[in-house]
């Protein structure tokens, strides 16, 4: 496809990548660089904006334009950039603390406004850079430096929160599954408007094996529920588990135990159903949906801004400063 034949190398920088060996961030970086190389878009059109955290070091390693901004503010910085420059492809990268703790408000506002951004949240369910405190996605009871007796904060379910904010594109993937990650990156990039992608990312130093249920050889096939538009939601090595709705709630049942017609057929345009599916898991310790929960079109913020400008210019003309400053009426002396 790519008429611009980039290789991954074109998207690598001369900066030494400084994550811990084995950190899930490496895998994600590779997936993103590979995707960009094949995205058939001039490199200079890409901008990566991040906050602060291990994940947020990301822009230094991607040879595009980038800003390593401040903790939590990346979605807001990116909103300004995307609004000013609708011609760019603006990506936001940050950790679960960066985006859901200090940056939670900017995130939900960027989602509701549907600014044309691709937001990647590397969720390792921990504060990595500050050496291991619990985060807004850490499970209750987690003992960390700041919660020696166990965390008492009920965590967010990022999918539920994003859907509650009416994000138009909501998806989840896994660092290890580079193929799936790439599919999701592609869909997110192609979606016009705010795309929110949660990427489960293993922090092998401060929260190792957090996602073992989805990555472990034995466990993974039993726990990965892949959501595919138009397909019935079943999973398990032999599709032996199925998801049905009961009073609007998603339930897992043995596939055989119910009439096939009762099995949920995934519909990325159905917000309520997507929300129900997001409730199937909380912390990813059991069966967990992966894939695109929602992908539904809505006017984007940056487009609307440009349209109003165009409309104003069409009706009033380009604007003349000398006229403007005289618009309140003038009088002459001498």
């Amino acid at each position: 496809m790519a008429s611009l034949n980039y290789t991954r190398g074109d998207f690598q920088t001369d900066q030494e990548v400084r994550w811990c060996p084995g950190c899930g961030d490496y895998t994600i970086l590779a997936s993103v660089q590979k995707y960009l190389a094949g995205a058939d878009m001039p490199r200079e059109k890409f901008v990566f904006v991040s906050g602060i955290g291990c994940a947020a070091r990301f822009p230094y390693y991607v040879n595009t334009y980038g800003m390593h901004s401040i903790h939590g503010r990346a979605p807001a910085v990116a909103t300004g950039l995307a609004t000013a420059r609708p011609d760019l492809s603006v990506w936001v990268v940050g950790g679960d603390g960066d985006m859901m703790s200090i940056g939670g408000n900017h995130l939900v506002h960027a989602l509701r406004r549907n600014v044309n951004l691709n937001i990647l949240m590397f969720n390792n369910q921990i504060y990595g850079l500050t050496k291991g405190q619990y985060s807004p996605t850490s499970e209750v009871g987690k003992t960390t430096k700041s919660s020696p007796m166990g965390s008492i904060d009920h965590p967010f379910n990022p999918m539920s929160l994003a859907l509650g904010a009416e994000a138009t594109f909501v998806a989840r993937t896994l660092d290890m599954d580079t193929k799936h990650t790439t599919e999701i990156l592609k869909a997110a990039h192609e979606h016009k408007g705010a795309s929110f992608v949660e990427i489960y990312q293993n922090c092998n130093v401060f929260n190792n094996h957090a996602f073992i249920a989805l990555t472990g050889k034995e466990e993974r096939d039993h726990n990965r529920i892949f959501l595919e538009h138009g397909k019935p939601v079943t999973f398990g090595p032999d599709g032996e588990h199925a998801v049905i709705l009961e009073n609007g709630e998603a339930k897992i049942v043995p596939t055989g135990s119910v009439d096939g017609s009762r099995i949920v057929v995934h519909d990325v345009e159905n917000l309520a159903q997507a929300f129900a599916l997001s409730r199937l898991s909380h912390s990813p310790t059991g069966p967990t949906p992966l894939g695109i929960f929602r992908d539904s079109p809505r006017a984007t913020y940056d487009e609307a801004v440009s349209q109003q400008i165009a409309a104003a210019q069409a009706s009033k003309g380009p604007g003349d400063i000398d006229q403007l400053i005289r618009s309140l009426g003038t009088w002459t002396v001498g």
């Binding site: 200079e44 401040i70 300004g80 109003q308 309140l328 003038t330 002396v333």
Partner: protein, 621 residues
């Protein structure tokens, strides 16, 4: 009146504060009563007054028509006056006819308090309006306060027992109450009068008092402010084409002008806050200039988005007031570190905390200077008057774009809501602020070095996303000189800190020297900044007339200071620094130049009175 300093005629330094108000409505609206009551309340306040009632010629002019309009004008001043004045500063219009009949007299930029509920088709027709003046833009030149007086009066008197036609009778008291808020008149005298007058009808008393208070509270609750206007006789102005402008409008227009001069689209990221909101409102009306306004979820998002837009190559601006500037502090430090050009406007209000949102104060100067963690000096310019705000906006843009740095503009309530005649720049006289984005690699090896600096300005290059071959990353961690890579190298941190500081210090070489007005070799220098300008200037002139030798200077640039400031200060025996704070410029001057600058401090929700500054000068001269 005290709030009205801007109504000092600088060309007649002996003149004092004055304002002219006209109540106008249908003959049935009780405007004569409202006017008289307002007059009485002011008299009780110790003002000098002159009034001018005018009634419909015909005894039974049809309601709602021009002939049916009745009005009452009063001029109030803290000095002897003889006439009710010519052009009202504030017009209360109870219906379309009242507006139409009186608008012609209202001074440019004057305030209109209008009962917009009366602007229905019937009344508009009766008044002979083809289109609704409230929406067709024909009132752009004025500050309009739209009030649903009928609904609010009805609601206010709901439980008082009055009924039928009596209900809306109290409308005039509502209007009176609102004026009392705007001009800080006491309500008591009017209340007493009401009780005496309607002693027989308790429900009418209740209704009128309720309406009166409702009007006052409406002003309080909605943080209502009026524009105050500087009166200057045409004869006393230099020849030229003039308009009358308020500070917030001038600021907005100055930003648009700057974006035209720089040939960059304007981005304004802001979150509403009194008294800065009008800049957002005004800019959002001019999308045809390519202006993008972003009403953010909070002030942090506003400045963050502005940083994003600056990175994207726009003339990026964020505006707020004190509490909002506090929230922007951390991100402003990032803007400083990334050395992107942008403007941060702080329309100061009474602090600390929520403080006195509608009152003037200059108490954010030290905050602007030092309100960031680490060593992060920024250029600061301040507007001296409404029209000056236009120039200041353009100058701030010049500094930001030339030196690749955020620049802080300090305005305040007086400048923002005050108005004055403005001698318009010649058509096509915009300065050339055109910028050169980087288009080529700037290193031998063909790579782009984001922190390679211009030898003269120390500015780094502005390479915007979308430019092939100049891909680079910036951020808040300390970065290596030239390459901009993250650097923990000790010597580099010192070097970068010195360079960033030097870049700002060096701006002193690129701004005009300070001019001192010293006709007759004085020993005393009075120096000020921002909106204390008119009061100081008038006071100095008065002092001179009184035979004292006084020098005067005004600082537009607070950081860096003009390069000759030290010599100037040292050349006077005494230096007086009047400011609407507890001595902030004073501290800066003392620390910088070790001169024993004397402060004149005031934070009492009011601008300086000419007389108080004058008196202080007398003491020191």
């Amino acid at each position: 009146m005290a709030e009205d300093t801007a109504t000092i005629d600088e060309t007649k330094p002996d003149q004092r504060n004055r304002v002219i108000i006209r109540f106008a409505g249908d003959s049935g609206d009780g405007m004569q009563v409202a006017g008289t009551r307002f007059t009485e309340a002011s008299a009780a306040f110790g003002n000098d007054l002159a009034t001018f009632p005018s009634f419909p010629a015909e005894i039974r002019a049809p309601a709602g028509t021009l002939p049916g309009v009745s009005s009452f004008q009063v001029q109030i001043a803290d000095f002897d006056i003889l006439t009710p004045g010519d052009e009202p500063d504030v017009l209360v219009a109870m219906n379309p006819a009242a507006l139409k009949a009186n608008l012609g007299d209202l001074r440019p930029m004057g305030t209109i308090v209008v009962n917009h509920e009366s602007f229905d088709e019937r009344n508009l027709a009766k008044a002979g309006y083809e289109s609704d003046p409230l929406t067709d833009g024909s009132l752009n030149g004025y500050k309009v306060i739209e009030v649903p007086m009928e609904t609010l009066t009805k609601e206010a008197v709901a439980d008082t027992g009055v009924s039928g036609r009596d209900v809306l009778r109290s409308k005039n008291m509502f209007a009176l109450g609102l004026m009392a808020w705007l001009f800080s008149r006491p309500l008591e005298p009017t209340e007493t009068w009401i009780r005496r007058k309607f002693a027989k009808k308790p429900e009418v008393v209740a209704a009128n008092v309720a309406a009166l208070k409702a009007g006052y509270n409406f002003g309080f609750t909605t943080e209502a402010t009026k524009t105050s206007v500087v009166e200057i006789k045409p004869a006393e102005l230099p020849p030229g084409e003039y308009t009358t402008i308020s500070g917030n409008l001038a600021l907005a227009w100055g930003l648009i002008a700057a974006s035209q001069a720089a040939e960059l689209p304007l981005f304004y990221g802001s979150y509403p806050i009194t008294p800065a909101s009008d800049v957002l409102h005004e800019l959002s009306r001019h999308k045809n200039f390519g202006v993008r306004t972003f009403q953010a979820e909070d002030e942090i998002a506003a400045i963050a988005a502005t940083i994003g837009a600056a990175f994207g190559g726009h003339l990026a601006v964020t505006g707020t007031s004190g509490p909002g500037l506090a929230l922007k502090s951390e991100a402003l430090s990032l803007a400083f570190m990334t050395e992107l050009p942008m403007i941060v406007i702080n329309v100061q209000r009474g602090g600390p905390s929520t403080g006195l949102p509608t009152k003037p104060e200059q108490s954010d100067l030290l905050f602007a200077m030092y309100g960031r963690h680490g060593e992060s000096p920024l250029p600061i310019v301040a507007a001296a008057s409404p029209s000056d705000a236009y120039e200041v906006a353009i100058e701030a843009a010049r500094l930001a774009l030339t030196f690749m740095t955020p620049v802080i503009i300090l305005s305040d309530n007086n400048v923002a809501t005050g108005s004055e005649p403005w001698r318009l720049p010649e058509p096509g006289s915009l300065p050339d602020l055109a910028v050169q984005f980087a288009t080529q690699p700037n290193s031998p090896d063909g790579s782009f070095l984001p922190y390679l600096r211009d030898a003269d300005t120390f500015a780094r290059q502005w390479a915007i996303p979308g430019t092939a071959g100049l891909e680079h990353r910036i951020g808040g961690l300390e970065k290596q000189e030239v390459t901009g890579n993250v650097s923990y190298d000790p010597a580099n941190h010192q070097l970068m800190t010195d360079t960033r500081a030097w870049k700002v210090t060096n701006i002193a070489q690129h701004i005009p020297e300070l001019e001192v007005e010293d006709p007759d070799g004085a020993d005393l220098l009075v120096i000020g900044w921002g909106s204390s300008y008119p009061a100081i200037r008038a006071a100095v002139q008065n002092a001179r007339r009184a035979g004292h030798n006084v020098a005067r200077a005004h600082l537009r640039y607070l950081n860096p200071f003009p390069r000759n400031l030290g010599d100037i200060l040292r050349s006077y025996d005494r230096v007086l620094v009047p400011e609407l704070n507890m001595g902030q410029l004073q501290r800066l001057l003392r620390a910088e130049y070790l001169v024993d600058a004397v402060g004149m401090h005031k934070v009492s929700a009011q601008p300086f009175k000419v007389s108080e500054v004058e008196q202080k000068i007398m003491e020191m001269a």
